[in-house]
Every structure is written in structure tokens, then in C-alpha cells.
Symmetry: C2
Subunit: 321 residues, 2 copies
């Protein structure tokens, strides 16, 4: 028997497949499917919206304000309004001409502030040059600041023992992707690359509140690679295409790539393709988890806006009823 | 001559002394004398106060509110009021009984808010248990929040492109000690140990604004020593006596010790002595700069409160005249 074994081609094939998958799973990162996570959160939101509507006869309302005709802004606003419609959230569409005065825009914001059917107000940025963005954003009522950019919100996000009314959407998306992928944060070394008011800074404050040891790396950092190499969690939000190489990643780390950079690609019809701040091909061979670009953080950000709107609406509707 | 040299004992002594000093200066950190720095800032403040008084006939006013009879609080308040008197700042002394109601305390704060001679309001903490500290602190007018603890102030401190009206006193003291010692911050690795709302968190935000690469280490950090060992600048504010050992310090680093811990010492009349969060004896042999405890950050904190009061007064007086 030993010298003349019966060939078992099926078992050997299965074994080889098993081995192959095992090696692959050891070598390759789990790619976090942002689209799928977003979809499942959206269906959770839709369920809650229906419940609100049945119990109180009211639905969450989101006002999306756009000034002028920028193509990219119109596309973002279109996505937001469409997503509202899909989930049963009432969308208030405020489309203002490029030439609208700052005073008139403020008047619009004030009207939305007092409109009881509006629970969230989003002013699409950038605004035309003649309008002071910071001024407009601070006019939005704190209770409706679903973008979470008000300095009072950021202050409460930073402080121990205080909680902001809304978490900024992209940082919230990053943490949601980590938690839904089973990545724990407490006690881990987290490195945030970039320190923008919209992503890097609030993401680092959120990670700190979740008990990570947080380092913020930025354009003035002398040796980013040696710092990133120690990170169990990397949030990349620098806006630099593929700046983070595979060799900078600690084996097994969780890598959340917020970067969305257009780079020339003559093989595409559009002439460009989107890449993240992380070299995905290299990093996915080292990391434990990684988000792709596109299809990672992107689809989650609008979803978090909708979730913030739902939360704002619940606070008001459940308090008044 | 070569075989029978004339002895030159004086030169040799001088040389030996020179060598000794050289070795000492290589081996030992520069001890930052917080008392001396505070004294020189206080004389700068006094000069500015005189200038304001001569030009506008007005002086800065600081209201120091104390509730109850806690010995430590009374000693802190006494120091603050005495310092005001020394620099020509008018001190408004509000001493309220332990049993004062929250409503009455808020009434006092509101009166100080509208008093045009008061430019800064400090409510000494802790307050008695029946009073909500957070509520009281948010009642202080932002323009008079010389402690800089209002969440809106912290939010502006965190955000790029925004500036708070007042920087919290202790973090401001730390950065002032660094800059007056000639330690540059931009591009350096800075590690803040501790993340309190009063010191650690705002200190890390200030260092980030000054372009350091900032890591925040705290009680949940798994290997603080390996992180601290990479730091060009350490701000220790953990409240753990001598937790940071000499071997944790990178040679040549600047070490600012905010810790003020009382430890038993039977050789002292008082029965205790104050020690910092850093093992001073060990660390001073490794660091490039180090603050002692006491005599480092301590004397600077009250000075920064006076500086904030001056700045608040200048904003109001120069605007209205």
C-alpha cells in the first residue's frame, strides 16, 4: 500500500486549494468593502426612518444648500439628495445663483435654522470667493450642524467628559469601518497622516477618545515612514497620491485610506483614475486590513451624513413627542 | 626642555577646570529656571500695565472667585491676588460661602461678565459638590475666559486657521519655557504624557499648531517608554511621581515637567516633598533641557494667567479708545 498508493487527485486538489487560500489569507490584507458596509448602514437608517414615521408621523429632513454651478459640487449634492430619497429622508433643495450675496445666503441659513422640519443643514463647499465660508458655517444652528465642523463641536470632541452633538462625517466613517471590521482601537498605536480640520484633526481626536495612543504626522514631519511603521492603525488623509509605501506599513496593521487623488491615466476613457494616499498594491500585501480607493471611505461619508441627520431628527422628534 | 619641563600648576589647574566644566556641560541638562523666566515676564507685564494706565487711564482687572474654605484653594487664590497687586492689575475678590447656591454663583458670574472693569474671570476649582462646574465655566463670557477652558476656545485651539481668544495657562507656560530656552518646535517629535482637558490635551494641540509631530501618551498606552524615547520634546503631565525614568529620555531632549506630586518625606518638617512626573536626577543627566519641580512650570502658570488678563484688557481698552 505504501509503495503503491492509490492516487487521490481530488483530495490533493482540495489540499492544494486549501493551502493556497491559507497562504493568500496570511499574505494578503482583508480588503474592507466600504460600499457593502455603507449599504448595510443605509438599510439600518431606512428602518429607523420608517419607525420614526410610523410612531410620530415625522421623517428626518436634510437641507442641502448649493451656490453656483460647479460641476463637482453639483455631483456631490446630487449624490446626497438621491441618497436622502432612497432612505425616506426629506431633502430640502436650496439652489442659489453664483452671485447671491453673503447676506442673502445667511438669511437662507437662518430660515432653515428655524424650520422645524429641517434637522440637518449642509452648505456645499467651496463657496464663491465673495462669501466668507467660516462666517456662513458658524451661522448654522449647532443642533443642525450635521457636518460637525462648528468649533464648539470640535472643542467638545477634543475634551474628555464632553460629547459633540455631531461627529464630522469622514472621521466617523473611518472609525465605523474599523469597528465593523472587528479592529479594536483601545491601547493601539494609531497614526493619522494629515491634520485638516475636516479629516485629520477630528480623526485623531476621535481615536484619542477611543483610547488609542495617537500620533499626528503632517507635512512638517521629518521621518513619517519610521512613525507610520509603528502604527497598528493608519488613517491616511494627506491628499498625496500613493505617498505611503508598502514598506512603511507594519505587518497586520489596519489601513484606512481617505485620500482620493485623480492621477493621469491615458488607458482610461476619462483620462484619469482615482488613487488613495496609500500604495494599495504594495500595502495590501503587508496590512491586515485595508480600504480600497475608490470603494472604501468614499461611499461611507455620505452615509454618515445621513446617519447624523437621523440622529439630529431623533433628538428633536423624541424630545418633542 | 622636553625632558625637564617647568611645572605649570596654574595652567594645568585651569585646564582641568575647563575640561571638568566641559564634561559637565555635555553630561548635564540645562535646568530651565521657571522662577527667573516668570519674573522676567512679570516685569514685562508690569511695564505694559503702566503703559495702558498712562495712555488710557485704565488698568486690567481680574476677578478671582472662590467658594468655601478649602485650604489649598485659598492658598492658590491668595497667590493670584498677590501677583495682581504686584503688577498693578486690579483684583476683584469674590469670596462666597460653601453653601452658596448654583443660581447665586451664576448671578455673580453674570455681574462680572457685564462689569467693564473686569477683563478676566477665574473661578477657582474644585467647586463644592452641589454645584455643576461645567455649567459655571460655560457661563463665563468668552471674552473674559482667561483660563481658556471654554469648549469653543478649545475648538479654535484645535482647528487650523482659527485662534482662540485665550490659551490655557499651563500649556501656554510650557511653550513659553521652550521658546525662551531657545528650543525650536517645528518639525520636532513631541510627546505629551497625559491627556487632561487642562494640560495634556491643549498642550498637544498647541504643539501641533507649532508644527511639531505630536504623540499623546496616556494610561492606556502599552509601551510609553519606547515612544518617549523618540521624543525631542517631552511634556509630562500624568500626575505620576517620577514615572518617567532617565533611560526613557532621548539624549539632548527638552523635558518640561508639569507634574506636582506630594510624596512622603520624613526628613522634612512638613513630612512631604514635591516631585515631578520625571525622575529629575536621572533625566537631568540625559536631557538637553529640563524643568525642576518645584521651580519649573509652577511659577509660570500664574504668570500666564496675568498675561491672559493683560491681553484681554488690551483687546477691550484699545478697541474702545
Amino acid at each position: 500500500m505504501l509503495h503503491n498508493p492509490v492516487p487521490r487527485p481530488h483530495l490533493s486538489l482540495a489540499l492544494r486549494l486549501l493551502l493556497h487560500n491559507l497562504i493568500q489569507s496570511i499574505k494578503m490584507a482583508t480588503v474592507i468593502d466600504g460600499k457593502a458596509v455603507a449599504q448595510s448602514i443605509r438599510s439600518e437608517i431606512a428602518t429607523e426612518v420608517r419607525a420614526l414615521s410610523e410612531k410620530y408621523g415625522k421623517v428626518p429632513g436634510l437641507a442641502v444648500v448649493i451656490v453656483g454651478n460647479r460641476k463637482d459640487s453639483q455631483s456631490y449634492v446630487g449624490m446626497k439628495r438621491k441618497a436622502c430619497a432612497e432612505l425616506g429622508i426629506k431633502s430640502f433643495d436650496i439652489d442659489l445663483p453664483e452671485q447671491v450675496s453673503e447676506a442673502d445666503l445667511i438669511k437662507e441659513v437662518h430660515q432653515l435654522n428655524v424650520n422645524p422640519d429641517v434637522h440637518g443643514i449642509l452648505v456645499q463647499l467651496p463657496l464663491p470667493k465673495h462669501i466668507n465660508e467660516e462666517k456662513i458655517l458658524t451661522e448654522i444652528s449647532l443642533e443642525k450642524d450635521v457636518d460637525g465642523f462648528h468649533p464648539l463641536n470640535i472643542g467638545k470632541l477634543a475634551m474628555k467628559g464632553r460629547d459633540p452633538l455631531f461627529l464630522p462625517c469622514t472621521p466617523k466613517a473611518c472609525l465605523e469601518l474599523l469597528s465593523r471590521s472587528g479592529v479594536s482601537i483601545r491601547g493601539k498605536n494609531a497614526v493619522v497622516v494629515g491634520r485638516s480640520n475636516i479629516v485629520g484633526l477630528p480623526a485623531s481626536l476621535l481615536l484619542l477618545k477611543a483610547d488609542a495612543t495617537v500620533t499626528i504626522v503632517h507635512s512638517r514631519t521629518s521621518q513619517p515612514e519610521s512613525i507610520i511603521r509603528e502604527a497598528d492603525i493608519v488613517i491616511a488623509a494627506a491628499g498625496q497620491p500613493a505617498m505611503i509605501k508598502g514598506s512603511w506599513i507594519k505587518p497586520g496593521a489596519a489601513v484606512i485610506d481617505v485620500g482620493t487623488n485623480a492621477v493621469d491615466d491615458p488607458t482610461r476613457k476619462s483620462g484619469y483614475r482615482l488613487v488613495g494616499d496609500v500604495d494599495f498594491e504594495e500595502a495590501s500585501k503587508v496590512a491586515g486590513w485595508i480600504t480600497p480607493v475608490p470603494g472604501g471611505v468614499g461611499p461611507m461619508t455620505v452615509t454618515m451624513l445621513l446617519k447624523n441627520t437621523l440622529e439630529g431628527a431623533k433628538r428633536v422628534i423624541e424630545k418633542n413627542n
